[in-house]
C-alpha cells in the first residue's frame, strides 16, 4: 500500500485515505487548439515504468490536492509538494 505524507496537514496517509488524480502537469489547452491537441490532452499520458509525476488528494484528511513524484515500480515516493511550490526532485528527473 502506498504511503504519502500530505504536505498540507503533515500526516503520513495510506493509499485508502488518498485519492489518485492521474499524471500531473497536464496543461489544459485553450478551446482554440486543434482536435489532435485536444484529444492528446484528454487521453494521452506518459504512463512510464518508473518515475512518474502525479496528483494526489488527501481526501480522507485535509482535502488538499498536491503533487508527488513516485516510482511506479517500487512505489517509492521521491518527493511531495504543494501546487504553488517547485520540486527539486521533479526538476532533476525532468
Amino acid at each position: 500500500m502506498i504511503l504519502i505524507r500530505c504536505p498540507y496537514c503533515g500526516e503520513l496517509r495510506t493509499e485508502d485515505e488518498l485519492t489518485y488524480g492521474g499524471e500531473a502537469n497536464i496543461a489544459r489547452p485553450a478551446e482554440t487548439v486543434s482536435d489532435e491537441a485536444w484529444t492528446d490532452y484528454l487521453f494521452m499520458r506518459t504512463n512510464p515504468k518508473g518515475i512518474h509525476q502525479e496528483q494526489w488528494c488527501c481526501s480522507a484528511g485535509c482535502g488538499q490536492w498536491f503533487k508527488v513524484v513516485r516510482d511506479t515500480v517500487s512505489h517509492r515516493i521521491l518527493d511531495v509538494w504543494k501546487f504553488e511550490e517547485v520540486s527539486q526532485a521533479a526538476e532533476e528527473v525532468a
Binding site: M1, I2, L3, D35, T39, L42, W65
Partner: protein, 979 residues
C-alpha cells in the same frame, strides 16, 4: 513402551492432569490440553486421517503443522466450523468434532480407492487428453464430484472478529531462537518491537529439539526469554499469530487466534506497518523420494522429534529413519531416549560423511550407509521397508519411517515483496535473495543450521537496527551446547524404484512420473510445470514438495536448481477465513444506513423505503396497500391538488466569493454570469470529454453567493469535482465551496394547490405568481423558521421546494402533511415522482443519459452554441464523435400497441423481427395516467430528425410499434407550472 495407544508415559509439554474429549469421524477419543488435533489423533493410534486427491490412497500424518500435505480435516468447535484445516494447525478443544475431508464411506475403507486400478488414466494433464472421447462433458460431472476438499456448512458463527491497525519500529516474524535472540538484543534500544509467533508458545524448534542454552534446556531458555520480553514495555509479543502477507511499504497482514479449551473464539486481523523487519521464520523439512513413500506411518523426521518431545507421543512402535543428512540421527536419538524401538537408520551417504554415526552405534542402532529404500509395504500402515545397498538388499520390519531430505527455508514473506529466492548450493536450499531495504534475515530462513551461528547473527542484526538509534541497548549472546543439525543436504535423486510409485506432492497426487511426463512434453519452465501437473497447488502450497519437484525437473533437464528457479510466492502464507477479512462489515453493518432527518415522519405514514444511497420512501402504504395503486394516487394528488415529496437528498453546494459566478459558469453548459439574485437556472455539467456528468439547478442568492443543486447520487462527487478544479486549475479564483447537503432538508410541495399549502406556513414574503414567478428563489421565514424557497418544478406542476435547517425537518414535514381543510396533501414517494417527471419529459441523468451522451444529444445544442466563453467539456463537443449524424439522441416514445419497457431495443429501420440490428434503447418508461398511454424516453440514432416516425421496439419478448414524439408528453406549453 506405551501405556495407552501411542502416548508416551512421560514427557512433552501437555497437561496430563486434564483430559479433553473430542470426536474424529464419529469416534469418541481423548487428548490433553497442549495437544494439537494431530498429536491427539496420533496418540489414539489413528493411522489414516484422509484419502489422497486423485488416487484415494490412505494417508496419515506427515508433518506437524501447516506444511502437512495430508491431514486435511473439517473441524467444528464450540465457536464455528472450518472445512479444510491441517490437523497440526488445530489446537485440541473440548467437545471438538473433526472429520476426514475425503473418503466414502470412510477414510479407512474408501470405495474410491478403486481408482488406483485405473491410475494410468489420471497422469499429468489427464483432463486434456484421457477423457476426450466421446466428450469431456461425459466425464466432467463424475470427476467434479470426485474432487475438492471438504464442504462449507451454513452454521452459526459464534467466532468474534476484529481488526487492528498498528505501526511499530521493528516487526520480528517468528518466535524461535532467532527471533527471540533478536528481540532480546533490542531491549533498551528504545525501539518499539512487535514479535509474532504462529505457535501458542514461543521457542519454535527449542520446544522439541534437545539443546542446552546458558545451561538450561531450550524450552526453559525460551520461557525465560518470554518472561524477560514480556516485562519490557517496548516489546509486544503475539503468539498464535501468523503473518500471512507482506505488502509494499512494509505493510503486513497478521491473523491472531484467541482460543480456549473449547476452540478458537476470536480472530483478530492486524494491519501492521514496520520500519524494520526481521525475518526469523525458520525452515521446513523436505522429504526424500522413494517408491510408495506416502504410506501412513511415514512422516518427516523433525515431526517425529516434535511429536515425542512436545506432545509426548510415539509416532510408531518400531521406527526406521531414512535420511540424506545428519538430522536423521537426532531423530534416532530422540526416539531412543523415548524408549522406542529403532529398526535402522538408512543413510544415502557414506559412513564417513555421517557426523553422528558413531553416536547411533553407541546406542546399538543399526546404520545402513550408501543405502536407498527401493520399496515399502503395508496398506493401511507401513509394515516393511526394503533397503538396497551396493551389495545387499535388506527387508526391515517397521511401522514408522522418519524421512529427512534436508531443509527448505520459509522465504515466503520476502517472496511476497518480490524478492526472488536464490539457490545456495552449499546448503542445498533456496534462501532469500535481495531483500527489501531494512529487512534482516536471521537463522534457519537463511539456512543457518547451527544455533550459535544463529545467535551471533541475531546479535549482529540487532546491532544494525540499534545503530540507527544511536546504538542503545546491548547484544545478548547465549552459550549453546547442542548436537548440530549438520550442514544441510543437497536434494538427492533416487536411483532405484519406479517413478510412477514415488509421490512428490502428496496432496495433489503428483508423482515423479508426472514430472517426467511434463518434462518430456516440454513443460520445463517451472511455472508451466506447476500448472500442468498441479505440483504445489494444494492448500499446503507445496511446502514439502516444491523443492523436491524442482530438483527432479533440474535433473531431468540437465539444469542446476538456480536455473530452474522457484515459482512465485504470493500471499496469504496460510488461508484466512473470509469472515475474518469481512470483520463486522456484514448484514446491517455492511454499510452505514443513511436516513433522512424526517425518517420517523415517513415511517408514521407507512413509507416503503428503498436504498438509493439514502433510504428514501418509494411509496406510502398509507395511500394504498398495493404499490401500483399507491403510486397512481400519489401521481393524481400532484396533478389534481397537492403532493408532498421529501427531496432532502438533493445535493446542495454553496459557492461563495467574488468569482463564484465565473467559477460555476466554467462547469455548466449555461452561462451563469447573467444569473441575477433570486433567479434559478437549470443546466447540465460535463466532464472534459463532453459527456454529461450531472444536471441540476443553480440558484443565485446574492451576487457573491450561489447554491448549486447536483443530483442526489452525485452530491459528493460534484463537490469534489468543484474543489479539484479550484485547487489544481484555478487556484487564484476567489471562491469557496461548501457542501451542505445534509445540513438542509428540502420538502417539495407540488400541485395546483401548492401555493395554498405554502401559504398555510405563513411565509414572510409574497408568494403570488407575479411576485414569485417560476425559476426564482426566496430567502425568508416559513413556518417560523428561516428557509429558502425555490419555485422550480420536476413534475410539470406548480411547485415550491422549501428548505429548512435539518433540525426543523420533521416538524416542517408533519406540519405540511397535517394541513387542515380541503387541501388534503398526500405524501408522494420516489416512484410517483419519477413517473411525473417522465410525463413532463424531464431528464434523469444516469437513466436517460449514458457514458456517451452529450448536451447536443438531449436538445441543448442551442444553449451550447450561444456560449462565447469556455466551459469544461466544450471543446470536445466539436470533435467528430460529438457532431456525427449517427448519434443516439433523446426522444419521446408513445406505444401504439403493447407497453414500453426500460431497456427495450429499437429495431433498425426495415426490421420487424428479432434478431436484427438495433439503433437505440428505451431509457425510461411507464404508463402515463395523465396522457392515457404507455410512454417512454429513448436514445435513438438520429432521433431528433425522426419526429412522428413509427419504430419497432422489442418489449416484453416481442416487437411493439411506437411513435417517436416530443419528449414533453404533458402540458407541452408549460401552462401549469407558470400558474
Amino acid at each position: 513402551m506405551t501405556t495407552h495407544g501411542y502416548r508416551l508415559p512421560s514427557g512433552g509439554r501437555i497437561d496430563r492432569t486434564r483430559t479433553i474429549a473430542f470426536e474424529f469421524n464419529g469416534r469418541r477419543l481423548s487428548g490433553h490440553p497442549g495437544d494439537t488435533l494431530a498429536s491427539a489423533l496420533m496418540a489414539n493410534g489413528v493411522d489414516i486421517i484422509g484419502r489422497s486427491f486423485k488416487y484415494r490412497r490412505p494417508r496419515g500424518l506427515y508433518g506437524a503443522g501447516v506444511e502437512d500435505p495430508n491431514s486435511m480435516v473439517a473441524v467444528r468447535d464450540a465457536y464455528g466450523y472450518e472445512p479444510a484445516l491441517r490437523a497440526g494447525q488445530v489446537r485440541l478443544g473440548d467437545g471438538m468434532q473433526a472429520w476426514s475431508v475425503r473418503g466414502w464411506p470412510s477414510a479407512v475403507f474408501d470405495v474410491g480407492g478403486g481408482v488406483q486400478l485405473v491410475s494410468g488414466l489420471l497422469n499429468a494433464g489427464f483432463y486434456y487428453k484421457t477423457f476426450k472421447w466421446p466428450s469431456w462433458s461425459w466425464f466432467e460431472p463424475w470427476i467434479r464430484r470426485a474432487t475438492g476438499f471438504g464442504c462449507p456448512q451454513a452454521v452459526d458463527e459464534n467466532r468474534k472478529v476484529h481488526h487492528r491497525h498498528a505501526t511499530y519500529d521493528v516487526l520480528i516474524v517468528g518466535g524461535g531462537p532467532a527471533g527471540l535472540a533478536t528481540a532480546r538484543s533490542l531491549i533498551g534500544s528504545g525501539l518499539r518491537v512487535f514479535l509474532a509467533e504462529d505457535q501458542p508458545q514461543l521457542g519454535g524448534s527449542l520446544n522439541w529439539e534437545a539443546a542446552l542454552i546458558d545451561g538450561q534446556s531450550g524450552s526453559a531458555w525460551a520461557a525465560s526469554m518470554a518472561r524477560t520480553l514480556a516485562e519490557d514495555s517496548h516489546t509486544t509479543i503475539l503468539t498464535s499469530t501468523t503473518v500471512t502477507g507482506a505488502y509494499e511499504n512494509d505493510h503486513f497482514v497478521l491473523v491472531q487466534s484467541f482460543w480456549d479449551d473449547r476452540g478458537v473464539h476470536t480472530e483478530c486481523l492486524w494491519k501492521l506497518r514496520a520500519h524494520h523487519v526481521v525475518l526469523a521464520t525458520g525452515m521446513i523439512e523436505r522429504p526424500l523420494l522413494f517408491p510408495d513413500n506416502d504410506r501412513p506411518g511415514i512422516m518427516l523426521s523433525g515431526t517425529v522429534r516434535r511429536m515425542i518431545n512436545e506432545f509426548g507421543v510415539a509416532p510408531a512402535r518400531r521406527m526406521a529413519i531414512y535420511t540424506n543428512n545428519d538430522s536423521g540421527y537426532l531423530t534416532a536419538l530422540a526416539a531412543y531416549r523415548a524408549g522406542m524401538a529403532i529398526a535402522a537408520v538408512v543413510d544415502t551417504r557414506s559412513a564417513e560423511a555421517a557426523m553422528h554415526a558413531t553416536l547411533s552405534k553407541e546406542m546399538g542402532i543399526p546404520c545402513l550407509f550408501d543405502a536407498q529404500i527401493q520399496a515399502t509395504a503395508g496398506y493401511r500402515r507401513l509394515a516393511t521397508i526394503t533397503v538396497r545397498q551396493v551389495s545387499a538388499v535388506t527387508k526391515i520390519a517397521c511401522d514408522g519411517l522418519a524421512v529427512s531430505g534436508g531443509f527448505s527455508p520459509c522465504v515466503h514473506l520476502a517472496g511476497h515483496r518480490g524478492s526472488k529466492p536464490v539457490y545456495d548450493p552449499t546448503c542445498g536450499a533456496f534462501v532469500p535473495g535481495d531483500v527489501p531495504e531494512r529487512w534482516h534475515v536471521v537463522g534457519g530462513v537463511k539456512a543457518t543450521l547451527d544455533l550459535s551461528a544463529t545467535f551471533a547473527d541475531a546479535g549482529a542484526v540487532a546491532h544494525t537496527i540499534r545503530a540507527g538509534r544511536g546504538g542503545l541497548g546491548s547484544a545478548h549472546s547465549p552459550r549453546v551446547d547442542v548436537l548440530s543439525l549438520g550442514t544441510g543436504a543437497i536434494p538427492t535423486q533416487p536411483s532405484v524404484g519406479s517413478s510412477s510409485r514415488m509421490w512428490v506432492d502428496f496432496q495433489n497426487d503428483v508423482k515423479a512420473s508426472d514430472i517426467e511426463l511434463a518434462a518430456r512434453e516440454g513443460y520445463v519452465a517451472i511455472e508451466h510445470l506447476k500448472r500442468y501437473t498441479t505440483l504445489g497447488m494444494g492448500t499446503d502450497q507445496g511446502r514439502t514438495s516444491n523443492v523436491v519437484g524442482l530438483s527432479l525437473l533440474a535433473a531431468l533437464t540437465n539444469r542446476t536448481l538456480s536455473e530452474v528457479g522457484t515459482t512465485t510466492f504470493r500471499p496469504p502464507y496460510t488461508a484466512i477465513r473470509l469472515g475474518t477479512i469481512a470483520n463486522a462489515r456484514r448484514g446491517d453493518l455492511f454499510k452505514p444506513r443513511r436516513l433522512f432527518p424526517t425518517h420517523g415522519v415517513h415511517e408514521n405514514r407507512s413509507a416503503v423505503f428503498e436504498d438509493f444511497g439514502w433510504e428514501r420512501p418509494d411509496w406510502y402504504r398509507s395511500n394504498a396497500n398495493e404499490r401500483e395503486a399507491a403510486v397512481a394516487l400519489e401521481m393524481a394528488a400532484v396533478r389534481n391538488h397537492v403532493g408532498v415529496f421529501d427531496a432532502s437528498s438533493l445535493g446542495k453546494i454553496e459557492v461563495t466569493g467574488p468569482d463564484a459566478a465565473k467559477f460555476l459558469s466554467r462547469f455548466y453548459v449555461s452561462n451563469l454570469m447573467t444569473l441575477k439574485p433570486e433567479r434559478v437556472r437549470y443546466s447540465v455539467m460535463l466532464k472534459e470529454d463532453g459527456v454529461i456528468f450531472d444536471d441540476g439547478v443553480v440558484s443565485c442568492l446574492s451576487d457573491n453567493h450561489f447554491l448549486a443543486s447536483p443530483t442526489s447520487g452525485n452530491a459528493e462527487a460534484v463537490a469534489a469535482w468543484f474543489e479539484r478544479w479550484r485547487q489544481t486549475e484555478w487556484p487564484t479564483m476567489q471562491v469557496a465551496i461548501s457542501p451542505v447537503t445534509a445540513n438542509w432538508t428540502s420538502i417539495a410541495l407540488a400541485g395546483p394547490l401548492a401555493r395554498a399549502l405554502l401559504a398555510r406556513l405563513q411565509p414572510d414574503f409574497d408568494i403570488s405568481n407575479d411576485a414569485f414567478p417560476h425559476m426564482q428563489i426566496r430567502e425568508g421565514t416559513v413556518g417560523g423558521v428561516s428557509a429558502r424557497v425555490a419555485r422550480i418544478s420536476f413534475t410539470g406542476e406548480l411547485q415550491f421546494e422549501v428548505s429548512v435547517q435539518a433540525r426543523y425537518a420533521s416538524s416542517l414535514l408533519s406540519t405540511v402533511l397535517t394541513a387542515e381543510g380541503d387541501l388534503e396533501p398526500r405524501p408522494v414517494g420516489l416512484e410517483a415522482w419519477l413517473r411525473l417527471r417522465l410525463e413532463k419529459g424531464y431528464l434523469h441523468v444516469g437513466s436517460d443519459t449514458n457514458g456517451r451522451t452529450t448536451p447536443l444529444d438531449i436538445g441543448m445544442g442551442g444553449i451550447v452554441a450561444k456560449r462565447q466563453d469556455d466551459f469544461i467539456g466544450k471543446r470536445s463537443l466539436k470533435l467528430a464523435f460529438a457532431t456525427s449524424s449517427e448519434r443516439e439522441q433523446l426522444v419521446g416514445l408513445r406505444a401504439l400497441d403493447g407497453s414500453l419497457e426500460v431497456g427495450g431495443r429499437i429495431l433498425s429501420r426495415g426490421h420487424t423481427q428479432v434478431p436484427c440490428p438495433t439503433e437505440g434503447y428505451v431509457t425510461s418508461a411507464c404508463f402515463s395516467p395523465s396522457v392515457g398511454e404507455s410512454i417512454g424516453l429513448a436514445l435513438i440514432q438520429r432521433g431528433h430528425t425522426r419526429d412522428g416516425e413509427v419504430v419497432k421496439v422489442f418489449c416484453g419478448g416481442t416487437p411493439i410499434s411506437c411513435r417517436i414524439s416530443n419528449p414533453i408528453f404533458y402540458d407541452p406549453t408549460n401552462q401549469r407550472l407558470q400558474a
